[in-house]
């Protein structure tokens, strides 16, 4: 990485840097297996902009590979997960986050399932309470049909046998 930096400096090449968007790294530089693991974890939270709902970690596209390489480099430099997600969000907007933030219309994504669950619970409790009163009616039914002529005929045939 240092060699690349000097080569780019020699060629006077300058690419936009994360520091301009999210400031200096606030974490610990990662290396080895931990770097690979965190790269995969963060890559699973970022949407590939040229795919249909795929994370950059799952996409075979070159664009996703570039983004994943950048995640890896930022972790190597000590950027935190929050800083990395914020860096990509500043370029692509909230679209790039596979887990939408709890704000604005996006908050509905989090609130609606809880509301639906609560509504379902209320419905089940209401139905269960109504069922509690239903058995009395069921028990009363045989009394009313005791004089059923068909039943009396069956009983008579059984007694004969």
């Amino acid at each position: 990485m240092i060699a690349t930096f000097f080569l780019l400096a020699l060629m006077q090449i300058k690419v936009p840097d994360a520091a301009q968007f999210v400031g200096a790294p606030q974490g610990t530089p990662l290396t080895g297996p931990q770097l690979e693991r965190r790269t995969m974890e963060i890559s699973s939270e970022l949407r590939c902009p040229v795919c249909q709902g795929l994370a950059i970690g799952d996409s075979p596209s070159q664009m996703a590979a570039n983004m994943k390489a950048q995640v890896r480099e930022l972790l190597e430099r000590g950027y935190t997960e929050q800083q990395i997600l914020s860096y990509f969000e500043k370029s692509y907007g909230q679209f790039v986050l596979l887990k939408p933030k709890f704000q604005g219309v996006n908050a509905l994504v989090w609130i609606l399932p809880v509301l639906a669950l609560a509504a379902g619970f209320v419905l089940v409790v209401t139905k269960a309470k109504k069922l509690e009163t239903a058995p009395e009616k069921v028990a009363a039914a045989p009394e009313e049909t005791a004089e059923d002529p068909y039943l009396a005929r069956v009983r008579e045939m059984v007694e004969k046998q």
Partner: protein, 171 residues
């Protein structure tokens, strides 16, 4: 009870149908750029062919049109003549092409066959494209003389769409 359930059901189904219907007219690849209204991310990249380094900072003082493209992109073939013609007709506007995920020889061949009127820079690792939130090519950014991005256009430009967006950079 049945009437209440019916009303609730109609409301829920109606809301879902409305959301799906509203989404039908949208391009799934369209991304509203949070960069519009902000300073353009600075870059200095090597020009293909000449090897000269073009620094965005050095272009301050005149409108800049930054076009992200690639030789493997079909719509880029379509818009290239529009960009070349407008670059020749608008000497006070700086056009810059940025190519990513591509190679020098392919770019040189493309430009030799189809003409060139402005510098084409190579974004070797795609970092400039990422900083500009490029989702697919072609995408074009219109930067005013103060260095602020005033518009982003996705897809192949026509002379009308180019001039319509350029007008925002001239205000």
């Amino acid at each position: 009870m049945n009437r209440t359930v019916l009303i609730i059901g109609i409301i829920i189904v109606g809301a879902i149908v409305f959301i799906l219907f509203a989404g039908l007219g949208k391009d799934p690849q369209h991304i509203d750029s949070p960069l519009v209204g902000r300073q353009a991310p600075p870059f200095a990249l090597r020009a293909v062919g000449t090897g000269e380094t073009i620094d965005l900072e050095s272009l301050r003082g005149k409108p800049v049109i930054v076009n992200f493209w690639a030789t493997w992109c079909g719509p880029c073939f379509e818009e290239h003549p529009t960009l070349v013609a407008n670059a020749r007709n608008l000497p006070n506007v700086q056009f810059v092409g940025i190519v990513f995920n591509d190679t020098d020889d392919k770019i040189m061949r493309f430009l030799a066959e189809r003409g060139s009127a402005y510098p084409t820079l190579l974004d070797a690792n795609g970092k400039t494209a990422i900083a500009y939130g490029v989702g697919g090519v072609p995408e074009t950014f219109f930067i005013n003389p103060a260095g602020k991005i005033v518009a982003k256009f996705e897809g192949p430009l026509s002379t009308e769409t180019l001039q319509e967006n350029l007008a925002k950079a001239l205000r």
